[in-house]
Amino acid sequence: MERKSNKKPIIELRNVKRDFVVGDEVVHALRGVSFSIYEGEFVTIMGTSGSGKSTLLNALGCLDTPTSGEYYLDGVEVRTMNKNERAILRNRKIGFVFQNYNLLAKTTSVENVELPLMYNSSISAEERHERAVKALMAVGLGERLNHKSNQMSGGQQQRVAIARALVNDPVIILADEATGNLDSRTSFEILVLFQELHAKGRTIIFVTHNPELSQYSSRNIRLRDGQVVEDTINEHISSAKEALDALPPVKD
């Protein structure tokens, strides 16, 4: 896989293995995964439950460390880092989007989006606010800056979560079943947003069990039993915008 060698690699995995000890048994969740993800790619990682995609996501998100193998994130070796170093790395280089949004309850959009910057003491309160507002504008929520999380729809909440993932200007956005809790119309809206971000040059990894979503990304990696079984470039990316427009109109 030497293609796109002109682009900068954001993620490099070399023979990554992750074993869990459950009782007396050793479960091999990842059995030697190797791939590189380059700047500007929109990658879907697919697999059924038990395929190891959650474990892979945790490893990619620096929430977990592989048992063996090498993982470089933006040129930095992650495997030897301790907990605190990984926390700082997540804070500076990764944006997470979760299936169930995980917004702080009774908290405004701006405050939710400010959260990652709260843990970066080099950013002043004004800059924090400014960047949060900018991120919310970028996801189309410029009108709902001071709405509280419980006053918004699922799609809006997920947009806030995406803004939160963008606010620290990460090298990679990790989305974990980001459309899993949404109806198909809202799912497409969110996909449109991801495609827009991709078009602006963001690197995105979208983990999902839904194979339909693969047509909207630029590259698909399929996992089975802790191994990569398929890794293809999608030459004909479908437009989520068109799919959205093609949906039957909402009946009132």
Partner: protein, 409 residues
């Protein structure tokens, strides 16, 4: 993460759970409030007792005959029945103990009925020297004290207190120069004492009749010994030295051999005051203990709520960790939250405790005294309570695995 961010986060969390935070605070409020109020009551009664004792003359030293040891045949005797203090002892103290003493007076008293016209009043006549007035902090309001000449001649003159005046001279007569009878002995009133009121033990300090001690010895009781000797040290700090000096003189006078027991006892007000204050100190400690327990219960309340809060906010903790919060940040967040609750509760408790103390003074008239250190102490204790009881739940929060926490249902 800096402190102002942490404060902001903690305040937000408290604000999101106003009622629960207030209920948690309630334990601390009651704890701190009661500690302050109880200490104020304890300190107040201690202070009022000390004041009353010093009103009676804080430098006062009393010499009584006997020392409550078995005398002679093994019978314990009442000190007033002993006749070991003589005029010679008094004179020896006056002439030899000049270093630490400012005033010395013998005292011998006799009780009976005071009669004037068709009024009478039961009282005792106290035979003393002029120094007695200085020792007991008494002042003559009208007339004069008896003189050395009166003492030398055992003159039948007396100085009377306000209560006696009120009871004998019922039609606003001027008592000066009038002759009152004590039993069969007539006394000429030469002075009236300024009123002092009741003391802490409920004794009327104005029901006194003072006469030259020689008069009581020779003309009333017909005795040669003294009931006691009163003296006053120059400084309160010198009382113990003065006591030693007096003891030495009296032992010499009474020819007591080294190693043998004294046949007299010398006590100072200091002992009385320390005895009284030790009682109130004990009461204060007792009250503070009870209040302290309620503070402890309040602290456990904080721990309880923080535990619930940590469990309830597992997902939030997971999220914070995944966006880059370190364990320390989470620890600090929950710790600050606990401290904020306890400090706010503590502040309200201080206000309430001080308020309750003043309410007790104004409504019930109890003497209260709020010592600044007791406020500071209870405030400090409740902050420490917050740290102590907030620590464990906060530690647990900080050790969560972000992977599990973020998916916690």
């Amino acid at each position: 993460m800096n402190v102002s961010n942490l404060l902001k986060i903690a305040l937000r969390a408290i604000n999101n759970n106003k009622l629960r935070s207030f209920l948690t605070m309630l334990g601390i409020i009651i704890g701190v409030g009661s500690v302050i109020a109880m200490l104020a009551i304890g300190q107040g009664s201690k202070k009022s007792i000390q004041e009353q004792i010093s009103e009676m003359g804080s430098n006062m030293i009393m010499v009584h005959p006997g020392n409550n040891e078995r005398m002679g045949g093994g019978v314990r005797m009442n000190s007033s029945e002993m006749q070991t203090l003589k005029n010679a002892d008094y004179e020896a103290i006056v002439s030899k103990c000049t270093r630490y003493l400012s005033a010395v007076s013998p005292m011998v008293s006799s009780s009976g009925q005071m009669i004037y016209g068709n009024n009478n009043y039961p009282t005792s006549v106290t035979g003393v020297s002029q120094d007695y007035l200085e020792i007991r902090k008494l002042t003559v309001e009208k007339g004069d004290v008896f003189t050395d000449q009166d003492i030398a001649s055992s003159a039948k003159v007396c100085v009377i207190g306000k209560t006696i005046v009120d009871n004998l001279f019922t039609n606003q007569e001027d008592p000066i120069g009038k002759v009152v009878r004590f039993g069969k002995v007539p006394f000429t009133v030469v002075g009236v004492l300024a009123a002092k009121g009741y003391n802490s033990m409920g004794q009327d300090q104005d029901a006194v009749v003072l006469a030259p001690y020689t008069t009581i010895q020779k003309r009333v009781s017909n005795v040669t010994y003294l009931g006691s000797i009163y003296a006053s040290a120059k400084e309160e700090s010198q009382t113990s030295k003065a006591i030693d000096e007096i003891s030495e003189v009296l032992r010499e006078n009474h020819k007591i051999k080294d190693g043998a027991d004294d046949d007299f006892s010398v006590r100072s007000q200091e002992e009385l005051s320390s005895m009284m204050t030790s009682t109130t100190d004990m009461m204060t400690i007792l009250l503070a203990c009870i209040a302290g327990i309620s503070l402890l219960v309040g602290g456990i309340g904080i721990m309880n709520i923080m535990y619930v809060s940590v469990t309830e906010r597992t997902r939030e903790i997971g999220l914070r960790m995944s966006v880059g919060a370190r364990g320390v940040d989470i620890l600090a967040q929950f710790l600050i939250e606990a401290i904020l609750i306890s400090v706010t509760g503590g502040l309200i408790g201080v206000v309430l405790g001080v308020g309750a103390s003043y309410a007790l003074t104004t409504i019930l008239g109890w003497p209260v005294y709020i010592q600044p250190y007791s406020v500071l102490l209870s405030f400090l204790v409740c902050t420490l309570t917050g740290v102590f009881f907030g620590w464990y739940p906060a530690k647990r929060a900080s050790e969560m695995d972000p992977i599990e926490a973020i998916r916690y249902e």
